[in-house]
Assembly symmetry: D2
Homo-oligomer: 354 residues x 4
């Protein structure tokens, strides 16, 4: 591609879509040519999102209704920020019309249509595309993403769990069956859903688990952990809602493959873990491996595309704790989508994200 | 005792002390005769805590400096809401002077002075009192509390972990070595500490773990779980700070003692758990066992002395999840202290708490 | 009436209705016999409001559909917590059936049906009742409320504005045309409305004015200020939304009737104001006149039926500032309704509220 | 100057200093060569501010102690982010050493040392510099700032008040004596002060006025309004604390100079106001004049250097309401300082700010 790509965002009225629009309006190599939303059709981006009103183009770009043929003429790359089950209906016509598609929904994340049905409760509407989609986690699938016509961006929880665990599973440093993932999410994680549960006074001064024990994201988390482990992995996963706008904080409990019971063996295990992380992420632009006493804090990554990772061996229990923090709308969703966009277009991977 | 008890609160300037004062001012059978605070000495309760200004006595009761002899003349029961390490210096003289003492600090929770030293970093200043103190968890030590001269009220995290697990350990339904406790706390849990970490803008829009992997509260949690299990128990415990004023939400991951791998065995395990909880807490005035689809939510217990408990068997992993929610300043601290006070005085256990 | 009254709450699914239910369940002289809600019909109070599950009656009392005849048999006093325009349809049949009615909507607050139409945009459905309704502000209409068959409880903003200003207008200490009221409200003030504007992430980290320059509550504010002043009063009123659950903080700017330009005249004006407030509210059970350096803070009244009032003369501008703080759901709505209920029934005015 | 300037930040441990460091690390034409902080001396920027750890230079740049001579060798422009009263001690040596100085404190904002003493309670330590300082409000003093050796950046409240009012005063469209300013501030406005009042649990769920009726910022607000009006202006100003991290929302009440009492006269006044704003700010890069039904909302400017302004004529009272929203740490402090820096250096005014 040239050094600038024309792009469209389909379904730009939710939080993920809004964040995409924000990132694309300030991306030095993106030219946002179309945004769609049934609800906002006819209004300008500046009117719907006053906080971007100053961005070049925001005052003139108007929301339109979805029209795949039209979009294909306007954009080389199309981002789909539609609800699960809806995105899959638009991917095929857009691909056929020659667009490259970056999908933010769950529709193309799973390789197996029967797993999709098990977790999402209905048949997949375009199962033939599943094998063509590349899972959009650049730290793991960077080369495949570069060539992908269809990218399935990971969910926010999966990113916060798969990135910290993949290096440990690939190097067989932990026992896959031991994995427990406890996640806390800010309220934008629920999307801009107009439901009582997400009203201010229902969330503020509240902390609560939900979706236990079988949250939908388990399907893609386990798919990716299994791939990293080279064997089938089943994990425990418990999401919680916490009254912040943005952020996911995940605490992972795992059993190291090698037992340690004294200072020497503990140090050996620690070195292996340190090496695994350095080797996997030492040069990654958006992974921040914390050292010293630092622990992840969502306020240190909010508004950025970074994920923070720290770990501790517990000499009392023999377990390994791994903790991660990310912004659910950036590294967890739209920032990661831009990372994929940069790869697809042959741009610097950090363009528009630093 | 008569149907009204004179009481004093020592160290009433922190959040726990403030909450105690609030509860005692409206308690139908308590007569608050003294409150101490070096910082506020000379000011009235109404001036220091404007929100209680309307309570009878708030306008006339003045903060004084600590004076054990004087307190012993004014109060039959003395609450100590002092920092760890300070409380133990005042308990002995107060007991000697004939008061009954309810301590909210960690000073008398541990039976073993060497464990105290391991976790708190200094020698215990009154180790001879440790064996005389009763752990103030009414659901477990009700009868002993009635007779106690010295009550050591549990910490907020321990209450949220020990109450959900004790019935399962006592009935040997779970494997003690499997226990993992993930807790979220509101910011008042840190006390009214004037440190950068607890400033509004450092906590708001932040989620973070801290004190891993060896938080001080582990000492009393493990002591009490070991007692319930009849064997030594070591657990994993990870506390997190979340931007709410009040509440603790704990998610527990444990392995059932009996393996289940089909509907029948799962149902059998479920019934045993249900029975254990009903038997332990079916008649408890402040334990709310949730049924149906309900999950704990701190907003449903904030401002009350209740703890909510719910559990789920995960058929995919074979684990048991138990979740609890409490108000860290009420069931987690001062409300529980009042429960103990009621027991000590022979009052209705719920007096002043409903 | 006897020393216990049977009561019903109609429309108990909003925040005001929920708060009423909470207060009535713990009121020593109320017997809650019926609660209605189309949405929750068939469920128990304990199921819908888990936080009250421990209250006597909460587990057995079921929500029903509205049926005035049936309600009249079950309750001596009926609270209407319905939307504006709906309440007025149920008042007449309930009154006819012999109930006393306490309405929390705006439907009976105005004396003039044409003002109602001007501000609410449609004709009043029961104008004949307007003259029979008593405005439920006990500090001003105490005696009339005792005898009222129909009480129109004030809005939350009006309470926070009328109470601080009425004594000054009655004593002619301020110029009516100078009044400017700036109010900040917590998000429950909008009710449990399922609209995008009240989602957590739209309110959190946001401060915004709304409804300027002609908010509906102006109609009753000006009616009551005019009554106090003995002349027609028009004021400036600007409400703002602020990310807290509860509370209204009002800052009032007024010109004293008497000019002051030196220490002596300023002191004279100050004494008159002090006297007016002491005379009006010195013995009021729920008005807290702050002295010394104290200024109102909503956290000091949240969860209580109190209103805090403080004032300052500004020697530089010659203006008087008056500030008030209240809990919008208690003194601003449901707590005040209970105060009226106590008056109607001849109970102690503070019953169930302290 | 060249197309890149070397800069230093003195006192970089508070919120304003932190924000400056963030902006300068990503500024395309700034080269941050030194940051000072007694508290953090010896640590790197990446360690102290983990959220900037990825910025070029953050890992190597270490905090040092203040040393004016050394700083003068390292930086062409020095930002002072020190407490009031401290900044003035460092300006003179830095200026003498040839640096240009941008001060964020209140020390050089006032032209009159006696007004400084009246409001700040002590003599000014470098009164001879007051006449040399330029008030750093680019929309008003752009040309003077370009040439300034010493810039005194405005306070956060003054910016939110002076910008909306200056065009109206300059065109004599409003009566100066009528001005009332009601401001709401996020908690970072208090700085990173470790005091009880700013602890999370003291601010969360709280709304409160403070500093009435004579806040220190009045001195510079009135100085600048007087300059705009061409006559001495005294205003009413009431700040409030609200539980958000960032933002100032100001609501202004003023009397138009021309009376309006019908549709025609009101429209005429409206047109004059519209013209005054368009003429003053129509081309300003950081002033967003809202149109249609839009009202300012701090969430739309948080994280940006924009100020939103909207206004309404109230036909009922004859008053004009003007509302503004800004990020207190950006347009209110550090963003504005960067705007001044760009002017001083001859860079594009928006460099590093969009």
């Amino acid at each position: 591609m040239s050094n600038k790509a024309s792009v469209a965002v389909v379904g730009a009225s939710g939080y993920a879509g809004e964040e995409l629009v924000r990132l694309l309006l300030s991306h030095p190599q993106a030219h946002l040519t179309a945004v769609t939303s049934r609800q906002y059709a006819g209004q300008t981006v500046a009117q719907v999102f006053p906080r971007f009103a100053h961005r070049a183009g925001a005052a003139s770009l108007k929301f339109i209704e979805i029209n795949p043929e039209l979009l294909a003429k306007q954009a080389e790359v199309v981002f789909l920020a539609l609800p699960h089950g809806v995105a899959s209906q638009f991917a095929a016509p857009l691909l056929q019309a020659g667009c490259r598609v970056i999908d933010l929904s769950a529709d193309f994340r799973l390789k197996d249509a029967s797993v999709y049905k098990e977790f999402y409760g209905h048949d997949h509407s375009a199962p033939e595309l599943l094998s063509r989609a590349v899972y959009g986690l650049p730290e793991i699938y960077r080369e495949a993403i570069r060539e992908a016509l269809l990218v399935a961006c990971p969910g926010c929880y999966p990113t916060s769990i798969v990135l910290p665990l993949a290096p440990l599973l690939q190097t067989r440093l932990i026992k896959p069956a031991s994995i427990i993932a406890n996640s806390l999410s800010g309220i934008t994680g629920a999307g801009r859903k107009v439901e009582v549960d997400y009203l201010f006074a229902e969330c503020n001064e509240s902390m609560r688990p939900y979706g236990v024990p079988k949250h939908r994201h388990l399907s893609e988390i386990e798919q990716e952990l299994s791939r990293a482990a080279g064997e089938s992995v089943i994990i425990e996963f418990t999401p919680h809602l916490v009254p912040v706008n943005r952020g996911i904080l995940t605490t992972l409990y795992v059993a190291p493959a090698e037992h340690f019971d004294d200072v020497v063996s503990m140090e050996r295990v620690a070195k292996q873990i340190e090496r695994a992380y350095q080797s996997a992420y030492g040069n990654e632009p958006f992974v921040r491996l914390l050292d010293g006493k630092a622990l992840p804090d969502t306020k240190n990554v909010a508004g950025t595309n970074f994920i923070e990772i720290a770990w501790r061996l517990d000499s009392r229990t023999g377990r390994l704790l791994v903790m991660s923090a990310e912004d659910n709308l950036l590294k967890g969703t739209s920032g990661q989508a831009i990372q994929c966009f940069n790869l697809i277009c042959g741009f610097d991977e950090i363009a528009g994200l630093i």
